[in-house]
Amino acid sequence: MSFDDWILALHVLSAFALVGAMVLFWILIVAMRNLDSVGDTIAFGRVMRVGTGVVMAGVVGTILFGIWLAISLDAYEVWDGWILAAIVLWAIGTGTGMRSDVEYRKAVTRAEELRSSGQEGQPGELRALNRTSAGLTMHTISSLAIVLILLDMIWKPGA
């Protein structure tokens, strides 16, 4: 196996990490929609932290190894249309994903505040935070960007 094959493998493994964490977040988003309890919100918050770590590894790995490949392989250039499109989609996916994380983190932060002040819940407040429409919209856009990147990577329009 050549060095480029290893880089390609790491690029694909990073993509699996990224998509794996995105699906985990979808499961958490659906499961958290009816949560109104401090303990339950904090429990999911811990899982969210694991997901965030995996997303970061996937986000960094895909772009780093992807650009490396584009430079290293003679068949492609970084300024090829489909590679530029992938980079733009990656930026959109990363930006909206980070924004989504901020929105969902508010519920966990509030739950931790309530617990430290000895309260086990504020009826309705945590549920509203767990149902953030801004977070849901951002995660949807982020997921769509990832699907478009996959389509772009397979069809390579203009290559």
Partner: protein, 155 residues
Amino acid sequence: MSVESLLFLHLAGAFLYVSGAVAAAVLRFAAMRAERPSEVALLMRAVRPVVPVIALGLILVLVFGFWLADRLGIGLGSTWLVATLALLGWTVVVGAVAGRQDRRTRELAERLADDDDRPSEELARRLRDPVNLAFNGSLLLATIAIVALMVWRPA
């Protein structure tokens, strides 16, 4: 159907399958760290919607994987392909056994949560059952090995 379409559907299935397996493992191991039975039940209940994701992924991977192999002229006797299919078989069988054990653990956690929601030794013992942990760990390792085999295609 074009090779690109087959590859897209095969990869989409692979992403769903691996994502589901990783999500289930993360939730299962997070349940081990939860203190109250209600939290354990909550985390283990969240694994349930993952099952159809894994099943759909498996179907897409197999159907479009075989189709793609046929289209590209890849022999079904290739070592990496046989190893991949054996590992997939392992994940299906062990996944069913471990899933049944986990369902009983979740049901216990739900009963304890309905009673007084205090930490229980029996629940902790079931969550740390070495056989169940070995099964769940092997599922995760098999999934990682499948991805590695697909990417590197040794021999």
